[in-house]
Symmetry: C2
Subunit: 365 residues, 2 copies
């Protein structure tokens, strides 16, 4: 029997539980793998794309690998804290705390996917927070649809200037340039589920994380101070299109706006935009220093206007309001719209610099 801080074990289990798929392709993926090594409690979850593992210090807790149903997580959550006791009795896991006791049935671990051999590979030490910002900022732009599988991934590119994250669905794109200097050159393509799980892991991480590149998969390991957490993310295959060609380089009109004001105005007028094309028109007028947003649908028309610093010729642009809102979301403070033309992509970035950039294709009007 070993005692854990409820908060610690709760945090560790929360980290791995998101991996467990709701409708698993392999029924064993519905289970959670537990092992007591004598030094650590190992908790592992698996899916087709991502495996996650936490190792919580538990000196003296030694038991052979076994599988528990997801209700094990609820049995730990339900404990009244601040301490939770864990024991293996007659092949069952006993979770107890004060008056609370749950005896959870277990299953044999046979057939459960093995943690891959993580020896070899190229190991990089990177700032956890910077990688978190990069994945968190671009992830929205990846495609939810299946039509082109590479667009359902987040590209990590090892370029001279630093590690770069890119995501796109073919209509919009997000790029984040980190200051993580990396020796290796090349690209890897993470499935979106892997990027999401990495974001969860990195949120709890302090300082540095270890990213190791293998053939076909990566591992990401971070120490939260209370326990160690690792991911295995199986990489997507396929050639990512040359996204650089989609980024315009000349911008006749440049607009500076308050991000929160713009977001609010988009949300407001979009209430009356057509659900068919989600179109919102934006009229930029340098003389009045106003950006006027107009949405029109079957039920009527809405307009709102916000202050804007406008350099260059006046323009009327049409955007999918969802794409515009997504693109400015990672920006804080003032946002800059670099407008290349009415039918060519607009580049969006924070006025105060930082590694984030978005590219949005306007709607054809």
């Amino acid at each position: 029997m070993v005692e854990f801080g409820q908060e610690t074990i709760g945090k560790a289990l929360n980290l791995v539980k998101a991996v467990t798929p709701a409708r698993p392709s392999n029924p064993l993926y519905a289970y959670i793998y537990l092992e007591g090594t004598g030094e650590d409690l190992v908790v592992r979850t698996a899916s087709a794309e991502v495996d996650a593992e936490v190792r919580i210090p538990a000196p003296g807790l030694a038991f052979s690998p076994l599988l528990v149903p997801p209700v094990f997580l609820r049995a730990v959550e339900a404990a009244s804290g601040p301490k939770v006791r864990l024991a293996v009795e007659e092949g069952r896991i006993v979770v107890s705390s004060g008056t609370w006791e749950a005896v959870v049935n277990t299953a044999e671990p046979e057939g459960y996917p093995a943690w891959p051999d993580t020896g070899g590979g190229t190991e990089l030490t990177i700032g956890a927070k910077e990688l978190l910002r990069a994945l968190g900022a671009v992830r929205y732009a990846a495609s939810k649809d299946a039509w082109r599988s590479v667009f359902r991934g987040v590209l990590l590119e090892f370029v001279e200037e630093g590690l770069r994250a890119v995501a796109s669905d073919g209509y919009r794109m997000a790029i984040y340039d980190t200051d993580i200097v990396v020796p290796s050159a090349g690209q890897i393509l993470l499935p979106v589920s892997g990027a999401d799980e990495a974001v969860r892991l990195l949120k709890g991480a302090d300082g540095e994380a270890a990213l190791t590149l293998h053939k076909g998969f990566i591992t990401l390991t971070a120490d939260t101070g209370e326990f160690e957490a690792s991911l295995v993310v199986r990489l997507l295959e396929g050639e990512y299109p040359d996204y650089r060609r989609a980024i315009p380089t000349e911008f006749p009109t440049t607009v500076v706006l308050d991000k929160e004001g713009l977001a609010k105005a988009i949300r407001r007028v979009s209430a009356l935009s057509s659900p068919k094309d989600h179109r919102v028109d934006v009229v930029f007028d340098g003389e009045s220093r106003l950006a006027t947003l107009v949405a029109e649908g079957d039920y009527g028309r809405a307009t709102d206007a916000i202050r804007a610093g406008i350099a260059g010729p006046a323009l009327r642009q049409a955007y999918d309001h969802r794409y515009l809102l997504d693109a400015i979301e990672p920006v804080e403070g003032e946002v800059v719209l670099h407008i290349s033309g009415t039918f060519t992509p607009t580049v969006i970035e924070p006025a105060n610099g930082g590694g984030y950039r978005a590219v949005v294709v306007p709607l054809r009007v």
Copy 2:
């Protein structure tokens, strides 16, 4: 053009918007009725069971009845406040505030259900808060299923001791005895949607509400201080079973428990109960002064224990944990379980009195 406080008109619209059905049987029910009487802005929504109306003072706003799509509500919400202007221009409603303007298309009001003639009827003046408590406390026990339509209603009974509210689904029952003294005798049966809408209306009401009984429907009118709100609720037909026969009168064992402690224990152990019968067993032991809760399902077993004052023989009862939790929910502080037997109903009420009582049938074990 008339100006409204955004908070006032927002509150008024919120009150009526819940009535608008998601999938209306009559397509006109999807619309909102507006009228400017010269004194008030009248806003009305309708469904098969409930019509709702608010009258917001708007001197000088005069326009003929018209219908607007639900996006009108969003156009008012989107305004930046603190004032919202409303005007009718060329047959369209213009909602504006600062830089914000929405022009909402309208439709002819022909065919929209007329507000019933509310003359005549028996008018009762009742405390809004007490009626709110009564409907709010019993509403959960009404049936969501269609098998017996009277159980999909909330019974209001005019008895000598005061107005009583009753709801049941045949397996459990909730009763609330108000101190509202009423002259009239008899019963009326509100559809659950009508009870819910009445709860919404009464939440914003101060002091007294007017309840008028008509043949086939009731009206409920309350003044919020800022506007007047009214409901027409069409009554359910059918004879309500004699619920008094389901209330036992002899209780060999009586148990007093802390409500929050019991609720927490039920929630915890239910994590491991079988999703087939939602069974939780409760063992009452007067000697140890403990109530021990046990749930067992395919994945294991959970137990928890809480302090209990127990008078009478020790017992083991089995309940559907959802029914037990619902029944104690309206209770604050200590809850009393009057146990008539293992297979006969348990009566639950607050230890400190008040008009609430619940009757729960144990599971057959």
